[in-house]
Amino acid sequence: MKSLRRHLTRTLLGAIATLGGAGLLALILAARDKVIDQFDDALRTKAFVISTLTKPGPDGVRVEFTDRFLQGFDDRRPRDFFEIWDPAGRQLARSESLGKIDLELRPGLGTKPRFWNFKLAGGQAARATGFTFVPKAPAGATAGQPLTLIVASRSSGLGEDLSQLLALAVATGATLFIATLWLIPRVLKKGLEPLARLGEQAAAINSNSLATRFPVNALPEELRPIAVRLNDLLARIEHSFERERRFSSDVAHELRTPLAELRTAAECALKWPDARDSATDRETLAIAEQMEGLVAHMLALARSEQGQLDARRETISLGTAVSLRWGRFAERAASRGLEVELDLAEVAVEADPALLRSILDNMLENAVEYACAPGLISITVPVDGGELVRIANSVDDLAPADLPRLFERFWRKEAARSGGRHFGLGLPLARAFAEAMGWRLEAVMRTSDVFEIALLHPTNASPARPS
């Protein structure tokens, strides 16, 4: 089906032509039957009149009627004819209008009138009726024998009427068909305009106009579900495109500085070889490691967002796991002058060891790097399994308005890059890993100078509100 409009036009025209033709044919047949019925009624009436006026006579029968009564039977304007036969087939009476011709005696006629068509001697069309009857004898006389009466009339007028009716019906049908032929495409075009507009709007959408939405309320009821679904689809595609664009843009942006460092260092070393020292090579390696770390984090985050993480399940003692991971950060915390309080209960959880390790590392690193010094870090694994891990640390530059941005990719409180040590990917990655295991990671300001981040079961989605 290449065009819905053309298909509908053809189908509707075919259906209307078929139904209209059948209707007209039925009308013609009904009208023809009616005309014939009326003709037959008239013929029957004439026959009954003749049979009523037929009296038995001594030499046969006597038909008592006048030309004024039935003018068509005289020989001046011969339109109607009759003949009467006795049971032996002898002709007893006939109309003057017959002249020298005879009507055909049909055998087997009963008392119920029968009708038939025939041709007169001159080839003219005629219609006849015939039946048997017993002429009513005058009072006191014996009843006569049954007679056969055949009455006929010229039917050429009937044929002309039927021809005119047919011509009228054909002309009317043709006119209606031509009108329909003109009307249907226009009606369909008008009726399908909303669909055509929807199609044009859909065709105009490309990767740069994914913010387009179809005006659902302005559409006909039948198209609204389509527009709603298309809008939903567009929203998802736009979100996906936006995420991809942001991902590419973020990667490009974050790689610009290490690339600038690398390029400038290399060009400097080539241009002024004497100025090159051993620090140059160490720095080149550090830049490469930084870019490698950035790419690894980005890939992990992308895989997580695309649902490609396949979290395994193992029983892990959470208190031990946190204690082991903390060992990597204890020295750094001490060097920054941070005090640490550990309250680690041995709680068994079902978790992916690698993902849990990464979540804990990011939570702990965040606390150690961003706690204000001197300050306090409190790490808790509660006995009650509502919260899995809770880490609180003192802060002096974090506001409640910053909390929603903590889990945005590449967000850092300081716009600068912290010397390439932090990518702004740790917490987004930790949250993505937590969600991959059906957990949640949420952050609150416990007080204006205490930040708290908690790893939670989904049933305990929100840590207690700050006091």
Binding site: H253, E254, R256, T257, L259, A260, E261, L262, R263, T264, A265, E267, C268, K271, W272, A275, A279, E283, A286, I287, E414, A415, A416, R417, S418, G419, G420
Partner: protein, 228 residues
């Protein structure tokens, strides 16, 4: 020429400092916005290379604060942001030029050089004072067509005097623009450098070009252009 580079990446800061010094500039380095603003307002720089994303105070804030305090040094913004709106925002904040990371070192040096030329209202790479030609591009000096052997520091001094030819240049200005402000105020390093440069120029030509204005400083010009 004395420059200030404000860049939070230590590695990039180091490379830029090295390349600029190797190109004959006196360079001060700062790692965050506050330090950069302090240096920019405390010293007189021919040009400032300013990163936008800086700790403590971002580059655009530094630029606005510098301009509001009357700082007129030409500023080259360095940034990883490359959208048109970012560039427009940077230039509208008072920057003179904008360079997106990563960049070619040659382009960076060329842009810094262009800013320094603009600082002295010059458009040519070769400056002439009488029969003395100072080629900034090739970093060569000739007199009467004969090349003059100069150390890097001597050439920087000659270049600075040539850019301000006809003007009296004070010792403090020379100290600030050529020596990173790191010399002892009571030493005679500048007088010695002037003396050495004057001798080399005199050896190459008949006429003395560097003249002393007692109590004021030095001026590079032909004798008949001397200030009365």
């Amino acid at each position: 020429m004395r420059l200030l580079v404000v860049e939070d990446s230590p590695r990039l800061r180091r490379s830029l400092g090295t390349s600029l010094r190797q190109s004959g500039y006196a360079v001060d380095l700062a790692g965050d916005g506050e330090e950069g603003l302090w240096l920019a307002t405390s010293n007189e720089y021919d040009a400032i290379v300013l990163d936008i994303m800086l700790p403590k105070m971002d580059g655009l804030q530094v630029l606005s604060a510098l301009r509001s305090r009357g700082g007129r040094a030409h500023v080259l913004l360095l940034t990883a942001r490359d959208s048109v709106s970012d560039r427009v925002k940077g230039l509208e904040s008072g920057a003179d030029d904008y360079l997106v990371k990563p960049f070619a070192l040659e382009e960076f040096l060329a842009r810094v050089k262009a800013l320094c030329r603009r600082a002295y209202g010059q458009k040519q790479d070769v400056m002439k004072v009488g029969d003395l030609e100072v080629d900034m591009l090739k970093r060569l000096a000739r007199r009467g067509g004969r090349p003059i052997e100069l150390t890097a520091r001597e050439f920087m001094l000659l270049e600075y005097l040539a850019r301000r030819r006809g003007e009296v240049v004070s010792r403090t200005e020379i100290e600030n623009h050529i020596y990173d402000g790191q010399i002892d105020p009571i030493s005679n390093v500048i007088d010695s450098a002037i003396c050495s440069l004057r001798k080399k120029l005199a050896a190459a030509g008949d006429e003395s070009l560097i003249h002393t204005r007692r109590g004021m400083g030095y001026v590079l010009e032909m004798s008949n252009e001397e200030i009365g």
